[in-house]
């Protein structure tokens, strides 16, 4: 297991500044002259705090642990004032952000690739889909409606993307998915694997109970066999799953509202039209 430590290193997650900070508060700032900091959004903060807890627990077990989460912030097209405010706010709210990148809109992908980002998180499903399509792992930073404190980082993997085999994924065209969409799912599966392997290593450092990391699989639409396939595949990738859900076409939101994940890896699947309308 020593080798693992050497070539894994930090698990870098990238957030966009408009997901972390309330844009309205930023523009309000620039309008007025007061120096109040930008207000961070609940859902991003709960995510960062949850990540911090995982890191703390990992370090507790091993002071020289190298496989830790690192969160970086990407800010596109910011004025100097806003840049400063972001930096100040990050400090003020004690958010553990390792680096902040200021770049142009077109440079987003480059920035992600250059920095070996293992996961790009966004609340914008279209952004996620675009990035995935290029082969960079991306997932949705999910809405946490109340600011309850979860002392657990919850990650959901899509059982549909992982559970369907290569050939079966092609069959999705019967259901109205386009070629590009199907290509994106295949990309997503590859991306998920890398992330799953890393997070699996992290997860194994904790026991079943009282783990700061909780891994879930949600099969929105494949059969229970697809879900079983996903569970087995993840196990092969070294990731043991804690919670599993199989929906067979039922709407996801009520279930997600109970699961309350931070990270939702849906490979772009849930961006789709209502599949249960298929007859």
């Amino acid at each position: 297991m020593e080798d693992e430590k050497n070539h894994t290193g930090p698990l870098m997650i990238a957030l966009q500044y408009n997901d972390l900070f309330d844009l309205d508060s930023i523009s309000a700032m620039t309008a007025s002259t007061n120096t109040d900091d930008a207000v961070p959004k609940d859902r991003a903060v709960t995510f960062i705090k949850a990540v911090q807890i995982v890191n703390e627990r990992l370090v507790e077990q091993n002071k020289t642990e190298s496989l830790l989460f690192e969160v970086i912030l990407i800010a596109k097209e910011c004025s100097e004032e806003i840049k400063m405010n972001i930096v100040e706010s990050v400090k003020y709210y004690g958010l553990e952000i390792v680096k902040i990148f200021f770049c142009k809109k077109e440079e987003l992908i480059n920035t992600l690739q250059l920095n070996n980002v293992k996961l790009f998180l966004s609340t914008d499903k279209d952004d996620v889909y675009e990035v995935l399509h290029i082969g960079i792992p991306a997932a949705v930073l999910y809405e946490q409606s109340d600011d309850h404190v979860l002392n657990q980082l919850k990650v959901i993997f899509s059982g549909d993307v992982i559970g369907f085999s290569e050939d079966s994924l092609d069959s999705l065209s019967d259901f109205g998915f386009s070629e590009t969409q199907i290509e994106t799912f295949k990309e997503a599966k590859i991306c998920m694997k890398e992330f799953a392997v890393l997070i699996g290593q992290m997860r194994r450092k904790f026991g079943q109970e009282n783990s700061p990391l909780c891994i879930c699989v949600l099969t929105a639409w494949g059969s229970t066999n697809v879900c079983a396939s996903a569970l087995k595949t993840l196990r092969e990738w070294g990731l043991d799953v804690d919670e599993a859900f199989c929906l067979a076409g039922a709407p996801c939101s009520p279930i997600l509202a109970v699961v309350k994940p931070h990270i939702l890896w849906d490979g772009g699947l849930h961006n789709m039209r209502d599949l249960s309308a298929h007859s």
Binding site: G207, G222, S223, N225, D240, E243, A250, S276
Partner: protein, 369 residues
Amino acid sequence: MSLDPVQVMKGQDPMPNTCPSASNGDSQASWDDSKDIHENEGSTKKPKSPKPENAVTIAVSSRVLFRTEKEQKVFEQKGIEEYLRYQVEHENEPFAPGPAFPFVKALETVNNRLRELYPDSEELFDIVLVTYNHAHVGIRLINTINYHNLFIERFCMTGGSSPIGYLKAWHTNLYLSADAEKVQEALAEGIAAATMFMPEKQIEVSETQLRVAFDGDAVLFSDESERIFKAHGLDKFFEHERENENRLLDHGPLKGFLEVLGKLQKKFYAKGHRMDCPIRTYLVTARSAASSGIRALKTLRAWGLEMDEALFLAGAPKGPMLEKIRPHIYFDDQMFHVEGAVEMGAIAAHVPYGIAQKYPHKKSTNAGK
């Protein structure tokens, strides 16, 4: 449970090139090769699951759907890590049927009949497995579902978190569990729920007709009369019932479930299947027909609910009656009656509602109502 592990993976659908995994290690090949997944989704043979709000959703826990006593012991004696390891080790051994199994099979039979008569309707039973279990046990549970040819396409394995939130998300009409605490939580949230117990012997139940039996007080009706009886005795109870004959009883936790059963029954009646309706409901109450039973009947009538058979026992033991009826499930609020039923081999479920939970029936006083 000496089952050939290799045969486990047969599912409901034709699986042309199933190479079931005998060992956990080489599972990749068998899953990737199975074109059945494609056939599953594209084929018109396998029915689609209904939308939760349209269906009558029955949530069952793994401990009542299957027999997991051995595994429970491992959990209690050796802790969770060992328990999960044991489950994974025995992944290809399906569980044996549990107390809720015949009930679930009967629901599927009704569904088949409903689909024949109303092919486009979503008013069907939908069975969801809602379990505290970790997803580690998931593969074994799915294997078992396939082995027994159960049509369960939905589940929530909550890995230790409370299942109650999920029950609501599924619009659950009835929740069956082995854990009285969870059942009570569900009842508190307004979800019909009951605890099930495994009978030592099991009497045979019908394979063509779903039979559901209900106790009256504190199950279909509120525990108002129970309270009077417990506080003031039999005479006061009779007096109270006489005086209030025309005042409807308040509803109890299972009234809603009876209602949805009634709705489905009417669908059969509408197509001329009143005589051979695959759903039959029974009232099995300690009330007496001549007196206190009247109020119960009037209440049911006012609610627009029909029961196929109403059995007023006037205090006689319920066991023998249940043995005759052979329900797939019998709901009672008193553990005493549930135990009596289970002893006779009837499938009974305890509804931990109302005053009887605080003042359980003493075996010595077999007073009638």
